[in-house]
Symmetry: C6
Amino acid sequence: YAVFHPTGGKIGMVNGLSVIGDRSGLMLPIAAEAAPAQSTREGKIIATGKLGEIAKESVQNVSALIKKHTGTDISQYDIHVQFLQTYDGVEGDSASVSIAAAVISAIEEIPADQTVALTGSLSVRGDVLPIGGATSKIEAAAEAGIKKVIIPRSNMKDVMIEKKYEEEVEIIPVDTLSDVLENILIEGSKKSKLVEKMKAIGTAVTKVPEGVNNSYNTPNKS
Amino acid sequence: YAVFHPTGGKIGMVNGLSVIGDRSGLMLPIAAEAAPAQSTREGKIIATGKLGEIAKESVQNVSALIKKHTGTDISQYDIHVQFLQTYDGVEGDSASVSIAAAVISAIEEIPADQTVALTGSLSVRGDVLPIGGATSKIEAAAEAGIKKVIIPRSNMKDVMIEKKYEEEVEIIPVDTLSDVLENILIEGSKKSKLVEKMKAIGTAVTKVPEGVNNSYNTPNKS
Amino acid sequence: YAVFHPTGGKIGMVNGLSVIGDRSGLMLPIAAEAAPAQSTREGKIIATGKLGEIAKESVQNVSALIKKHTGTDISQYDIHVQFLQTYDGVEGDSASVSIAAAVISAIEEIPADQTVALTGSLSVRGDVLPIGGATSKIEAAAEAGIKKVIIPRSNMKDVMIEKKYEEEVEIIPVDTLSDVLENILIEGSKKSKLVEKMKAIGTAVTKVPEGVNNSYNTPNKS
Amino acid sequence: YAVFHPTGGKIGMVNGLSVIGDRSGLMLPIAAEAAPAQSTREGKIIATGKLGEIAKESVQNVSALIKKHTGTDISQYDIHVQFLQTYDGVEGDSASVSIAAAVISAIEEIPADQTVALTGSLSVRGDVLPIGGATSKIEAAAEAGIKKVIIPRSNMKDVMIEKKYEEEVEIIPVDTLSDVLENILIEGSKKSKLVEKMKAIGTAVTKVPEGVNNSYNTPNKS
Amino acid sequence: YAVFHPTGGKIGMVNGLSVIGDRSGLMLPIAAEAAPAQSTREGKIIATGKLGEIAKESVQNVSALIKKHTGTDISQYDIHVQFLQTYDGVEGDSASVSIAAAVISAIEEIPADQTVALTGSLSVRGDVLPIGGATSKIEAAAEAGIKKVIIPRSNMKDVMIEKKYEEEVEIIPVDTLSDVLENILIEGSKKSKLVEKMKAIGTAVTKVPEGVNNSYNTPNKS
Amino acid sequence: YAVFHPTGGKIGMVNGLSVIGDRSGLMLPIAAEAAPAQSTREGKIIATGKLGEIAKESVQNVSALIKKHTGTDISQYDIHVQFLQTYDGVEGDSASVSIAAAVISAIEEIPADQTVALTGSLSVRGDVLPIGGATSKIEAAAEAGIKKVIIPRSNMKDVMIEKKYEEEVEIIPVDTLSDVLENILIEGSKKSKLVEKMKAIGTAVTKVPEGVNNSYNTPNKS
Ligand SMILES: [Ca+2]
Ligand SMILES: [Ca+2]
Ligand SMILES: [Ca+2]
Ligand SMILES: [Ca+2]
Ligand SMILES: [Ca+2]
Ligand SMILES: [Ca+2]
Ligand SMILES: [Ca+2]
Ligand SMILES: [Ca+2]
Ligand SMILES: [Ca+2]
Ligand SMILES: [Ca+2]
Ligand SMILES: [Ca+2]
Ligand SMILES: [Ca+2]
């Protein structure tokens, strides 16, 4: 049963991508909702089924980042993640950025662009790490009427889509969660503020200070 | 042992529908009760047996929605769900709207119409998602004396009931939890107030703002 | 080892009934005790062995009803249920009314009539639902010297006891938990007050209001 | 390794009895200690090994009774139970009165008589219920130098000890936990006060009031 | 990899003894650390691996004793126990006194004598109970350069060490935890104070009062 | 997919080392993040996959040390550990110092030197204990462009690297966690302060006081 609407924006709904069987790509619509926590002690992550584990992983990674960069304490919420179209053998991205995006859309009540699909793994530090089956996923998205596909920058070199899809879908490489939100959330003042705060995310490379003696010493060095 | 009374209204009792074996439809009477929570920390969902998991799923989805839209904190309650007539091999709807309706009827103490049966899956955002075996379920309901069957709108196209049932039972397509409550709860002021609050549920589609540059940009776009 | 005393009243002790093997009936003496909860957070239900699960189910159902109708917060108690005579293969009633009665007797410190035996399943709304093996159970009770057997009203039609037992035992059909307590607890002011409060239990059938338009409407009805 | 000292009194140490293999009796020395609870929330019962479960059962049953009758809140304690001499295949009494006695001795700091051995099962209402292997246990106790053996009254009819043991050991039948404590704890003011409080334990049989109409009535009685 | 230093004193490090395979003795160096508890509710015992269970047992037994006799509430700590040299098939003492000693050394910050090795089981009442393989353990200790070995007094009769070891190692029999600490902790004021408090440990034998009627009576004695 | 950048400094990212299969060495990049705890009760350690257990062990050991020596209460944090490049059959160091270093880098927000790799096991007292496969690990590090490898001092005697690697990589032996931090964290004032506090770590050997009578005495010494 198709639950797919590639038009406009919807709060708490994003189009993820997965692979199945012989590496065919598949749309993976995700719904998320956040409600004030039932328990006075801490919010829960409620996600069932085979993909429940990657949902929990995703929410755990993104909650650390949200807490740290926006001040929003998502432990005050019970977060519900639901996959609206799964099949036996479907494999989702571990710590999926799609799930992270759906949850943020639900909590912040900012609509997510239904013409966009995403794939990528979120690291605990907010980087978007590479995934498998990038090409198959992009093609499945194009077939479904999707206009833009967000993928990890490190997967760009893997992508070889057929000519017939090139015209139909725009591929957007990203490095961090902040880039993902920039490209999936519908424009507006709430979105701008959020993306601004999240810009700090990502593993910046510090240059080692000049002139410091970098020959480390330990007692009894041999 | 039949526990079935297709007449009048009863608090906390609804007629769900399930399938069994070779896709035969089956009445699935459900009883629900809410009592002030035993634990000072949080309310529990108590549902045993094979269908216990879908009961928990249903209550979790509906509790998020109730909390958000009516302010009722159902974590203050221990919610009991009981299936009064189950058989080996029975399969219920995942995140069943029937269970959600029984729980709401019990908490709000609004009677549920015993001449109505329901089937449908509740999404975490309050949409009623399609289920399987719609035709078999409607026929089983008709056989049991039911007058109206509530089904997900997206299942309407699947329904092909025999002529002999057409006269006997009215089919009511719904989109959201709000629609379900409108059609299952007995008329009265408590019902009207509740349905009004729940009208906000559902995944509204936002039109993307005109005039905004929707060509997304990310650093180093290729 | 017989622990059976069919005479007088005892607090916290009731004679339940079970079946075993080839549907032979069996006495199932039950002892219950309630002590102020050990944990500051919530009371526990302590019941071991094969029948431990039905004990927990019974106490959960009855605790909801007690809380709601008498105000007694049984979560302040640790409730202990013990079966004094079990055998391999014994099968008790799910959510047994016998256990519920023993627990209420213990908490309220009202003696239970030892000349009475009971069988029945307690629904979450306080109805006494039908069980199996009614005839065998009544006969086993008679053999043990029991004078009255309480059974669910919906099982009355199943009962066919031998002529020799007809004279010895009185069969009492019941509909709700309130009826059960009326017939098992020993007369006195404590009992009267309790039964009075519990009378509200049971799934009353509301008549649908006259004159209301019961043709439900939903947007886009087909 | 014998850890057995059949002389004098020791706090927290009692001589239980068990059976092994072909129903041979065996001494089962038990050590118990109570320390202020580690957790701020509730005390624990710490007992490992095969007999750990019966230890927990015993402590749960006796804690309900202690709380109710002496006011001592044993949930403020972590209770440790240790079996000092176990073998593969050893079987202890379920909800053993020996363990209950050791725990009470430890909490109240009243020495237990080392010349006494015990066997029996404690019901949740404080009755001492029958056990198996009474004769073998008494003989094993006599062999070990024990002077008195406490057994459930309902086992008295089973006992047939050999003439050579009759002179050596005194058999003491008991009905309740109060009787057990009377016979195992060393005389002194602390003991007297405790036994006095515990005398209320046991399932007293209430006589049904005279002149009351005992013909029960329920609506629609058939 | 040998982590063994038989010289001087170290906080939180003791030399335990174990057996392996065909009853060969083996050094079992143990490290322990106590840090203020992470959880506001209670301290944890963190010990992994095959010997993790005996570590937990040991800490539970000793925590009851420490709480009771020194007032130190070790539930305010997270206690970490680590075995620095284990092999498949190694068997440690249940409720090992070595672990207890390491933990006390860490909490009290009193160094433990590295020239001493220990073996023994700690009862919940603070007695040192006998263990197996005493001779093999002493010999392994001697081989490793250990000067003194602490063993349970009840194992003294089992010990038959070869003449060549007699000169090298001193065997010290103990009865209680207090004796163990006296012999393992390095001399100083902190040690003296601690040992003094712990002297109350151990199962003192009370003499039964003279002149009391020790013929117990129970109602209906037969 | 290589996630490896052997240049500059990054907060929360360290290059660990592991072995796989036939003792081949392998880079094991580790990411860690600390966010204010979700639960009001205690922080969690979130680490999934096969190496999740050694991650938890590492964080537990280091949290005891951090709490004790820096006052930082890491139980106020949820700590996330992620392995960015694992394969079936990979084996990490138990209680890995690499994980400990990544976590400290994340909590203290001090960059870790990306040109350095580490291997070693952290004891509960802060010592760096020996590991296996030192040579293979060093060679794998050199192959990946690493400039310095930190190893446990007790492994120095095992190391035999090929001539071609000798010029490329500097081997740094360490004894304690403090040494590890000295060599992995990027120079700056935050680093200096931290290393200073951690210097107390390690198992200092106390000299036994002179002139004390070290002949221990116990009652009844034989
Ligand atoms: Ca923008
Ligand atoms: Ca330097
Ligand atoms: Ca209406
Ligand atoms: Ca834009
Ligand atoms: Ca009456
Ligand atoms: Ca209407
Ligand atoms: Ca007396
Ligand atoms: Ca009456
Ligand atoms: Ca001394
Ligand atoms: Ca006496
Ligand atoms: Ca330096
Ligand atoms: Ca000395």
